[in-house]
């Protein structure tokens, strides 16, 4: 039974009078790909931001590899070994793809040449077209952006990678390619992943285990097949009890 | 020991001035809330329209406040033009460039004034309202009372416009969500242009009122700019009420600084307030949308 690399314990996050995350707890096991799904407003992004340090929860704790990381700022979280990708792409428009990924690699080395070589390696690993590595951030496609975002994050040598609705806006064949890359990253680099997602086909096919959120709470947890047939989950999405 | 009557008189003066500052700052606040653009040159528009008010007053031998009937609509049009030519092209640009362009605009205005009028301060020699009104032991300058009254009425009118008219609703909707506003049938470009024009027109009104007792030199803009920024930083995006409250606070702060420290420290107190405000205000104010 693999150890829990991330432990979320009774996390509560409020915004004024609204409780976005309402006492949620779950483990993420080392080496797995875990999906985090739920209808709009379920609190997935808020929880995501609590883990990555953008928000500090009012109550509860987050443990990473046994260490309490609750409330640490984002750059320290990255240093500890948690990386993330962005739902709304945040490209480095005036830097080249290679330079952007080099920024990520510089977290673990101060030598720019070494970091750049590492960046080249990562880009090759995920299958980014070599002829485009010197293209500027503003000149590449959406799919390219997502790959660069991924490469940037991987270059920081994380143990845990959080993906924020990475499949949004992609066409089916792009989604398949992305899923393949993610599986490769998981199996060959041993990086644990949490996939926050709306696109069912993508997350169901990719995850070994899924946690479902609704109105800030965890309503189900289990393998994709179990979740798909779980009446509570169906009700949360459709708003009515299943017939 | 400072005579309490002087303190009270100065505070009242601060309140009166605060209303005028609020009027001028309102334009900046509307523009910033709507377009995320802080017009570095805001105070310099006050300066330029003050010169224009002065020229008209001198030429036609009328009280500067009367010139507002000409300068305000004129500056509304000038505001529209500046929006179209300078602001609209940079709406999508990187923030540093946006700020830089308005810095450049301020520079241009200041140095046009310097070139044309040179550095000596100008004022209208015989303003009509330059007499005192005695309320008990305190003497108030009538011109300032009128300025405050006009400011208050104008602030109220704009508040009414923002909250009760269709156009005001369009402004607030666009402020809240500029992506969705067009879907509601709002012509965002037109809203931006009109609001910018309005903001500049308000500076002209403030300037005309100010010239009934004050004097203008090419660097007048710096004081009005600073006062406007402090007001916007303090309560600026809360519509007219927020600007009004902040204006009063700033006016009184300035008066207190002048009373208890030295008269030349009046701006120093405002600057200090500005620094402290920026450092200790909740982050939410500065998040770009």
């Amino acid at each position: 039974m693999p150890d829990a690399i991330l432990q979320v314990r009774n996390v509560v996050k409020r915004f004024g009078g609204i409780i976005a995350v309402n006492n949620i707890s779950f483990d993420v096991r080392e080496g797995e790909i875990m999906g985090l799904i739920g209808p709009n407003g379920a609190g997935k992004t808020t929880l995501f931001n609590c883990i990555t340090g953008i928000y500090t929860p009012e109550e509860g704790k987050v443990y990473f590899m046994g260490e309490d990381i609750t409330g640490l700022p984002p750059h320290k979280i990255a240093l500890k070994g948690i990386a993330r990708t962005w739902q709304k792409t945040r490209p480095f428009k005036k830097m080249t793809v290679l330079e952007a990924v080099t920024v990520g690699a510089l977290l673990r080395t101060s030598n720019v040449d070494k970091a750049m070589r590492k960046a080249e390696e990562v880009l090759k690993f995920i299958g980014f077209p070599e002829e485009k590595i010197n293209a500027l951030g503003k000149d590449i496609t959406l799919m390219d952006h997502k790959m660069v975002d991924l490469a940037r994050a991987i270059a920081t040598e994380p143990k845990l990678l959080l993906l924020d609705e990475v499949a949004a806006g992609l066409r089916p064949h792009e989604m398949d390619r992305l899923a393949e890359v993610l599986r490769k990253i998981n199996s060959e680099k041993g990086i644990t992943m949490i996939v926050v997602e709306h696109v069912m086909r993508f997350v169901m096919g990719l995850s070994e285990r899924i946690v479902v959120m609704h109105e800030g709470q965890k309503i189900a947890e289990g393998r994709p097949e179990e979740i798909a047939n779980n009446p509570k989950v169906i009700e949360a999405y459709l708003g009515t009890k299943p017939v | 020991m400072i005579d309490p009557i002087i303190v009270v008189a100065n505070i009242i003066d601060g309140i009166l001035m605060g209303l005028l500052y609020a009027l001028v700052a309102l334009g900046l606040s509307l523009i910033f809330g709507l377009m995320d653009i802080i017009n570095f040159a805001h105070g310099d528009f006050v300066m330029i329209s003050a010169y224009l008010a002065w020229i008209l007053a001198m030429n036609f031998m009328v009280d500067p406040s009367v010139t507002a009937f000409v300068t305000v609509p004129l500056f509304f049009v000038i505001g529209l033009a500046i929006y179209k030519v300078i602001i609209e092209p940079i709406l999508g640009a990187e923030p540093l460039i946006q700020i830089a362009v308005t810095v450049g605009l301020g520079f241009v205005l200041q140095n046009i004034a310097l070139a044309v009028f040179h550095a000596e301060p100008r004022s209208y020699p015989a303003p009509a309202l330059n007499f005192g009104i005695n309320i008990g032991p305190i003497t108030l300058v009538a011109a300032k009372l009128v300025a405050a009254a006009v400011s208050l009425v104008s602030l109220f009118l704009i508040h009414y416009m923002l909250t009760k008219t269709k156009f005001g609703l369009a402004i607030r909707a666009t402020s809240a969500n500029r992506m969705v506003a067009p879907l509601m049938g709002i012509n965002v470009g037109k809203v931006y242009a009109v609001v910018f024009g309005l903001g500049i027109a308000l500076t002209a009104l403030g300037a005309a009122l100010y010239m009934t007792w004050g004097q203008v030199d090419p660097y007048l803009g710096a004081s009005f700019s600073l006062l406007s920024w402090v007001i916007v930083a303090m309560g600026g995006l809360g519509g007219v009420i927020g600007v009004l409250a902040s204006g009063l606070i700033v006016g009184v702060l300035e008066a207190l600084g002048s009373t208890f420290i030295t008269p030349s420290a009046r701006m120093a107190v405002v600057y200090l307030a500005f620094f402290l405000l920026l450092w200790f205000r909740p982050r939410g104010l500065f998040a770009r949308r």
Binding site: V103, N111, V112, N134 | V103, L114, W279, F286
Partner: protein, 327 residues
């Protein structure tokens, strides 16, 4: 940095140094022209240093003259009242400026102040220092003069060439510092911060720390050079904290192109030379003409060519294949 890059920069810088060193000769040692050249050169130092905070870190700092003034006045006063040579005083001045930068920068970056509010804050700083310096306890209303001595101990001379060469040395060092930063981890991190702070933070970058580093480096260079600026000016007073001059440095930086050392240098030399020419010809009749032109230029560049003069350099670089960027 990689061997080929380093060689490229070294050669360019060496050529530039030699060319600039020959200028006094080319000017026939005419003192008026050399003073002009020295002034242009010192502004080149200012603008290239400003590029660290404005271009690399992307913060619109409008207080360069604050750091120049503090550093310069500290060194000048140390010489005047304690006889301490500026060779030591300039370093102390740099320290004073860096202290000021840290005092302002730490809370400013900690509270996440950026963009407009940072610009306003820094613009206010110059005015505040101007007012403080005006107080009788400090510089009062009078002009202050440096001791009427000459020689290398004082860095004051009867002719201007020696000063010119000292400033040239400072310029070369400043350019070297910029290039070093640009190609280092700090340079990459600053660029990332300028592009997108949130994304940068998620990649492990301590945004506040790096902004502060950039600010203090720039402030240090400005503070160090301050004394030389005062020598060129001849006097110092509260007027040293002059807002238009401060804004001008930032404007030159923007027109040069944010992040471009070549652009910063070219912008400063070119604009300052034109400014001096205008000032000596039409200047008496139309005060502030050159400032007006700066304002117009800034607006035009901002609207039409925000990359500034650097765009020209990039075009040239591409043409002669100096650029690695393909795509």
């Amino acid at each position: 940095m990689m061997g080929a890059e380093f060689k490229k920069y070294f050669i360019t810088l060496a050529v530039l140094t030699v060319v600039l060193a020959l200028v006094p000769f080319a000017l026939g040692f005419n003192q008026y022209y050399i003073l002009l050249a020295a002034t242009s050169l010192i502004f080149a130092v200012f603008v290239v240093a400003w590029n660290i905070i404005g271009g690399y870190a992307g913060q619109l700092d409008l207080a360069p003259i604050a750091y120049v003034g503090i550093g310069g006045i500290v060194a000048a006063q140390l010489l005047k009242y304690y006889g301490i040579t500026p060779w030591v005083g300039m370093f102390i001045g740099a320290g004073a400026s860096m202290l000021l930068a840290a005092a302002i920068g730490y809370p400013t970056f900690r509270f996440g102040i950026k963009e407009v509010w940072y610009a306003l804050l820094t613009a206010s700083l110059v005015v505040i220092l101007n007012n403080i310096a005006h107080l009788p306890q400090f510089l009062g209303s009078l002009d202050h003069y440096l001791p009427a001595k000459t020689g290398w101990y004082y860095l004051i001379f009867t002719d201007y060439q020696n000063l010119y060469y000292v400033i040239l040395a400072v310029l070369v060092a400043t350019i070297a510092i910029n290039l070093k930063i640009s190609n280092s981890k700090t340079g990459y991190y600053l660029r990332a911060i300028r592009e997108d702070e949130l994304a940068a933070e998620a990649l492990g970058i301590d945004v506040r720390k790096y902004k502060l580093k950039a600010l203090m480096t720039y402030a240090g260079i400005m503070g160090f050079t301050g004394y030389l600026y005062i020598v060129l000016q001849g006097t110092y007073s509260y007027h040293t904290f002059d807002s238009p001059t401060s804004l001008t440095i930032a404007i030159m930086g923007i027109i040069g192109g944010l992040g471009s050392v070549a652009g910063a240098f070219t912008s400063a030399i070119f604009l300052k030379t034109v400014e001096e020419y205008l000032r000596s010809t039409i200047g008496a009749m139309i005060p502030g003409l050159y400032l007006l032109i700066y304002g117009i230029l800034l607006i035009v560049v901002g609207i039409f060519k925000p990359e500034g003069i650097a765009a020209l350099f990039n075009w040239v670089k591409k043409k002669i294949g100096f650029d690695r960027r393909g795509a």
